[in-house]
């Protein structure tokens, strides 16, 4: 057992690292892209609505594995030859953006129109309305869903192993096929994800408290 840990420990650690990295970048960039898409849909030209809708429905309507294969093996046909890790992070970003943009849309829809009209009446610009009124109010209702989707994305990262990203699932499979020990590595993997997700949800609850602080103060 100690010998196995010694042999596979470093590989498992770099696997952990790559899983964390691809999750963090994929979630962050996905959130940014989702936000940009939602702002474009809300404030941009009406014609933008159709391609955005098509994008969201296509991404939500196809499995992540399929999207990743199209990106990784189909991309070179149109001159987009990405290495495995960048392809994986880009795949997570695109996948995440479609869901994040829908969460944000519902969140923004829940912002009382009166507050926006009031801000406009006293001369706020659109950018200020978004940053000072819409985002803080939206966060109250949308944050739990955003955190929830970030958690879902942690588990989608294992699919990156299919396009040769040497993340934690990839390393675990290597370890399994070389040691013929199948249950222990998978249990370790499960524990890792559990701890990972628990950390995110704790962080999410702290964020929620922060964004709803003003509501608590009043009551």
């Amino acid at each position: 057992m100690m010998e196995t840990l010694h042999r596979y420990g470093p590989d498992l650690l770099t696997g952990f690292g790559l899983t964390l990295l691809s999750w963090a970048l994929g979630t962050l960039l996905g959130l940014v892209l989702g936000f940009v898409i939602e702002i474009a849909r809300r404030f941009g030209h009406n014609l933008l609505g159709y391609p955005i809708r098509a994008y969201v429905e296509f991404i939500r309507g196809t499995p992540f594995l399929v999207q990743l294969f199209v990106l990784y093996y189909g991309g070179p046909l149109i001159g987009l030859r990405l290495d495995a890790l960048p392809a994986g992070i880009l795949g997570l970003t695109i996948y995440g953006s479609a869901y994040f943009t829908e969460i944000l849309r519902a969140g923004f829809d829940a912002v009382p129109l009166g507050q926006i009209e009031a801000a406009r009446a006293i001369g706020f610009r659109n950018t200020t309305i978004v940053s000072r009124i819409m985002v803080p109010v939206m966060m109250v209702s949308a944050l739990p869903s955003l955190v929830n989707f970030a958690i879902i994305l942690t588990k989608e990262t294992v699919i990156l192993s299919m396009i040769t990203v040497p993340e934690i699932m990839f390393q675990t499979q290597t370890m399994m096929s070389e040691t013929f020990a199948f249950v222990t590595p998978i249990l370790i993997l499960a524990l890792f994800f559990w701890g990972f997700v628990e950390t995110i949800s704790r962080f999410g609850r702290r964020l929620e408290r922060r964004f709803t602080h003003y509501l608590l103060d009043r009551s």
């Binding site: 030859r81 192993s161 040769t164 499979q173 290597t174």
Partner: protein
């Protein structure tokens, strides 16, 4: 009344199941003969051994195992599983027999029961037709793909150390590695000779095999559980010898590999 009878018979049925299940621990061959079917698992993306053609399972293994099952007097049932879950699946008795060509290694022989060799498994490189390799040594410093968790991967690692460094990428199936060879991310793919010769033969405009093979001579065998499966392996070995003796093996080899090769009729040294 009806309900309690149903309940009783259900309980009896469960009890009978439990009895047969505990009986199953002893002898796989007896269970297979009793059931009249043998469940064999392979990954059907390993041409020319195992592949799907219009949704139907075909290949060298299929033809060979149809004959083996005939010799055993049971009906074969084929399952398609990814390679990485085949050996674990065998251990937890999801099926009876591994029909995938398993490269014979000492580590695996400690853990599983191998049949006699069914094909040559010596490792070689394949490259794009316009590739730069003229001999295996040219792979130094290049990026080479290989199926993850295979004996070929280990041989490639060892060969990389020997010639001074190969950048190795692991894939789920050989098909994905070939695809990435075509995209240009890889300079070559390592795999067993029959597999790559078949690939180059069926797609001569895309691929070319780099000769000679770089690996040490190795063989493929089928695999059953150690202990419980020993009787089954003995029966399969008898079947293999019969199939070899009356020329059926030669016919199947010629059909799928284009040429017949002689295989050891005893277990090779590992």
């Amino acid at each position: 009344m009806t309900f309690s009878t149903t309940l009783k018979s259900a309980l009896l049925g469960l009890g009978a199941l439990a009895l047969t299940a505990s009986g199953a621990l002893a002898d796989d061959l007896a269970d297979i003969k009793a059931a009249g079917t043998i469940v064999a698992a392979t990954e059907m993306h390993y041409a020319p051994f195992d592949m799907l053609e219009n949704g139907e399972y075909v290949g060298f293994d299929r033809d060979l195992f149809d004959e083996i099952a005939k010799e055993l007097g049971v009906a074969p049932v084929y399952q398609d599983l990814p390679w990485t879950s085949i050996l674990p699946g065998l251990e937890v008795k999801k099926f009876d027999f591994v029909l995938a060509p398993v490269t014979m290694t000492a580590e695996r022989a400690d853990r599983y029961s191998f049949t006699l060799p069914i094909a040559d498994a010596t490792v070689t490189f394949v490259q794009r037709k316009d590739g730069k390799l003229t001999s295996p040594e040219d792979a130094k410093g290049m990026t080479v793909g290989v199926q993850k968790g295979t004996a070929q991967e280990k041989q490639l690692e060892a060969y990389g150390e020997k010639i001074g460094g190969i950048n190795i990428k692991g894939y789920g199936t050989p098909d994905e590695a070939y695809a990435d060879l075509m995209t240009g991310r890889l300079d070559a793919v390592a795999g067993s000779a029959p597999l790559l010769n078949y690939l180059a033969k069926t797609r001569p405009d895309d691929f070319a095999v780099v000769n000679p093979p770089f690996g040490t001579p190795t063989y493929f065998g089928f695999v059953a559980r150690k202990g419980d499966g020993d009787t089954l392996v003995a029966a399969v070995n008898d079947a293999l010898k019969a199939i070899e003796a009356d020329g059926r093996m030669t016919a199947i080899q010629e059909k799928w590999f284009g040429a017949a090769t002689e295989l050891p009729q005893t277990m090779p040294e590992l």
